[in-house]
């Protein structure tokens, strides 16, 4: 039963707003040079409008002939993507100006990527999933290489492009196989058909494996993780920030929609082994290699790999506990990661230079706010209370313990310990080392500082009073499973 067109349109109003805004920005860039300096703010305005639309408008469920499902979950993820986008845009303007690279395409591409992620979040058809994925990926290829005079930025772009396209091809081929096995591109049908079987059909197994491998690339979990450190390090910091949270969120939701209801653990014993293995390997390898990094951005990339390992635990556990833990983890991760990258942007001289831990030495008393926000976010990433990172880990491990995965919780906490070692390394460089002779000359920037501060405050507030977040996540999951 197709829904009326106005319902369809209203359901995707945020995406529409962002798309229109992107076009508008493109026009302004081309024809109204006077407004160029306000592009970032205009973009933020559009994001705010989209967020308002998301909050104000109803979530009708299936729309667009059943290819999109705008439900509470989609709304939740949309808001989270918009929040990340907002923070990215906020810090991007001054950041680009500082690096002499302000061009309007940046904002346009970022908006398009966000639209792609939002499409993914509500996609319930293989086609929309794929479209969303590509709409997210293609602008990001460009954004990675945005500093086109920078060797490392271009290299990051190349790597993300080649491996990303490669992974997309896998997703696509996997989708073809799933389509072939179930005679449908509708996720609900696919899930129903697979779940009805006693075991996994080889075609389904291979198809699922290819899709999951492709999504694993987006999530940057082991073994499809290797691109992440290079790309994070090479990309402009706001892009890195965006890249480290938005695609991961979108991919996790797709994974969640796939895995939920299929009860893959029943169909294939290998499913648990595969996901748990990826989770454990990601946590361990990510944290381990992060230990010996000298570049903070690269270190955060490895830490991101580890964090997605934790999130995978929640995916594996599944059920209301696990699914809501995924959402909590996403939100927490967004805040602390955005905050960390923003603070890092404040604490680094130029973006095309490495962001060495050594360069942060003694800045704790020099650039107090930036250092404090970075410290807050790092402690949070390490899972220390009273920050949101603890809430997230608490939710994930609680889910694991409640569903018999105590060993995964133990591995997880052990990895938290490992991770503390390298986060501490940054923190002591900030506060416990003297300012070097030739300290980097840092330019203050209000928007970036504001981004970092907002993120850090979010980290603290959600950590001290996690109730709202936990309740919201639980409510979302309840509403979609009802």
């Amino acid at each position: 039963m197709p829904s009326p067109i106005h319902t369809d349109l209203l359901a995707v109003a945020p995406q529409v707003i962002l798309t229109l805004a992107a076009g508008l920005l493109l026009l302004i860039e081309a024809f109204l040079p006077g407004l160029r300096r306000a592009l970032s703010e205009l973009g933020m305005l559009a994001v705010a409008g989209a967020a308002w639309a998301r909050l104000a408008l109803p979530t009708p469920g299936l729309v667009w002939s059943g290819t999109l499902r705008v439900d509470e979950l989609a709304a939740f993820v949309d808001l989270y993507i918009l929040a990340a986008l907002f923070l990215t845009l906020w810090m991007a303007g001054p950041f680009l100006r500082r690096n002499d690279s302000e061009r309007g395409e940046f904002y346009v591409l970022a908006l398009f990527a966000a639209v792609g992620a939002m499409v993914m979040a509500s996609a319930v058809n293989l086609l929309t999933v794929f479209l969303g994925l590509e709409l997210l990926s293609i602008p990001l290829y460009v954004l990675n290489a945005f500093f086109r005079r920078s060797v490392i930025s271009l290299e990051a772009g190349l790597k993300y492009f080649v491996v990303g396209a490669f992974a997309s091809a896998f997703v696509l081929y996997g989708m073809a196989l799933l389509y072939g096995a179930t005679a449908s591109t509708d996720l609900a049908v696919i899930v129903a058909v697979i779940a009805a079987g006693a075991a996994l059909d080889p075609l389904v197994a291979i198809g699922l494996a290819m899709v999951v491998a492709g999504l694993a690339f987006k999530l940057a979990v082991v073994p499809a993780h290797a691109w992440a450190p290079d790309v994070y390090q090479g990309s402009p910091t706001p892009v890195t920030a965006f890249l480290s949270v938005v695609p991961k969120g979108a991919a996790l939701i797709v994974l969640l929609r796939l895995a939920e209801g299929m009860d893959l653990a029943r169909l294939s014993a290998g499913w648990v082994v595969a996901i748990a293995g990826m989770a454990v390997a990601s946590q361990t390898l990510g944290n381990l290699i992060a230990l010996v990094q000298r570049d903070v951005k690269r270190m955060l990339a490895y830490s991101g790999i580890a964090h997605m390992g934790y999130a995978l635990v929640a995916v594996l556990v599944g059920g209301p506990d696990g699914a809501s833990a995924v959402l909590v983890y996403l939100v927490a991760y967004t805040f602390m990661n955005m905050g960390a990258f923003a603070a890092l942007a404040l604490l680094s001289e130029r973006d095309d230079r490495p962001h060495l831990i050594r360069d942060l030495e003694g800045q704790g008393y020099h650039r107090q706010l930036a250092a404090l926000t970075l410290t807050t976010c790092l402690f949070s990433l390490a899972g220390m209370p009273p920050f949101v990172g603890f809430t997230a880990k608490f939710a994930v491990f609680r889910a694991a313990v409640n569903h018999g995965f105590v060993w995964l919780a133990v591995v997880g906490v052990a990895n938290s310990l490992l991770s503390a070692a390298y986060y501490l390394r940054v923190i002591y460089a900030l506060y416990m080392k003297p300012l070097p002779e030739r300290a980097p000359e840092l330019q203050p920037s209000l928007p970036i500082a504001a981004t970092a501060t907002v993120a850090a405050l979010g980290v603290l507030a959600l950590g001290l009073y996690p109730t709202a977040l936990l309740d919201a996540a639980a409510a979302v999951i309840t509403s979609i499973t009802r």
Binding site: F390, F397, V406
Partner: protein, 498 residues
Amino acid sequence: MVDDHLLSIVLIAPAAFAVVLLPIPRRWRKVHRVLTIIASSLMFAFSLRLWTAFDADEPGFQLAERLPWIPQLGISYHIAVDGISILLVLLTTLLLPVVVLAAWRLNIEHIKSLHISLLLLTTGMIGTFVAVDLFLFYVVWEITLIPMYFIIGVWGGPRRIYAAVKFFIFTMVGSVLMLVAVLYLAWFHHLQTGAWSYDYTELLTTAPLLPVTGGLLAPGLLVFAAFGLAFAIKVPVFPFHTWLPDAHVEAPTTGSVILAGVLLKMGAYGFLRFNRGLLPAAWEACVPLLTALAVVGIIYGALVAMVQADVKKLVAYSSVSHMGFVMLGLAAGGQAATQGAILQMVNHGLSTGGLFLLVGMLYQRRHTRMIADFGGLAHEMPVFTGVFLIVTLSSIGLPGLNGFVGEFLILAGSWSRAPVAVALAGLGIILGAVYMLWTVQRVFWGPLANEANRLLPDLTVRELFVMLPLLVLIVWIGVHPGTFLSPTEAAVRLLLGR
């Protein structure tokens, strides 16, 4: 109004005050100092009010406050004190103004940050003692790590970073597993009752049901081990103690005093409250192990202390030894021994805290802590020598001073259950006298060995005021320990009776 939220005020006020300090420019060092000393004294006053409001005959939790925090998961902001925790809360609030005053004249960089760290740390420490909800307990337990990490790492000695990281990681090794144990307990509670709760008072009904038979992997034993490891590292119990000497040596006086005075007590308190309270069957099974570790700690700590060249390191190892007594008292588990162990926690806070303060004063004058750099100070600083001697005597358990009462109760209470352990622990007392008196001799007696020590100024009036509360309590507890023993009586009886 104030009385209704007395405990919350005592808990939150330090953190709130830290926030108040934030906007004050850091150049106004004096303002920070004055404000902090006023605030910490006020907090102490509030905690005295807590003391008077406390009813010693009531065995359970009192002055409780409970607000829903994450109601969906059965997590609440539930704080309360009982006879076991009230003393430790008071010890914490007492030591805060003492260390602030002790750091008064020190030419410390970033004094504002130091005070903020101290205040946040205080909230964490008090929280640990008053949290009834296990989630809340875990949160505040972990929170203490952060300010302490900074205190050691920023204001510490030459190897401060190593020490700070070691402190952080060591402590975290234990506490992360504790998180899993807490989650497991909550899950088990849900399994048994169908309700989610992290509340100590509610978990008390289900946690003891955890099976402890069926080999080493019995859930009860594993949960016990997870809690135990966290606390054993904090106490520290041999062989998890090696973070302590490093932390103490590198930490500034302020940090060492708080570390020895309060932080170590968190471990012993945890053992009593959670391992003993929640898992009595597992505790029974582990008593031989705990006793053995306690005794080894006593003798080992004393032996190693004996050959230290750095006074601070010596006192640090002596802490290992003294906390071994506390563990012995807890392990023995009788009413008297347990009460003695609680009192001994306070005693150790006073005497070892006092020693660290004194060593700090010496360091401030001479910028060295090596015993070999001193000798014959008694003539130059007679009052200092006297105070040091009194604290030393308290530390080695001279009757009439506080240390004796604790040791006496612990050993007398343990005698019937583990006479061999008591006798061995007694060796620790002898060794304690050996290393402490030997230190006193090498630092204070003999001819003036080093010309640099000539005319070292004696204790100033401010420093005397720093030491005075400790000295008063050292004698008070030694002569009339009833003041501090009677509040613990009913609570310990309740805890052990379960």
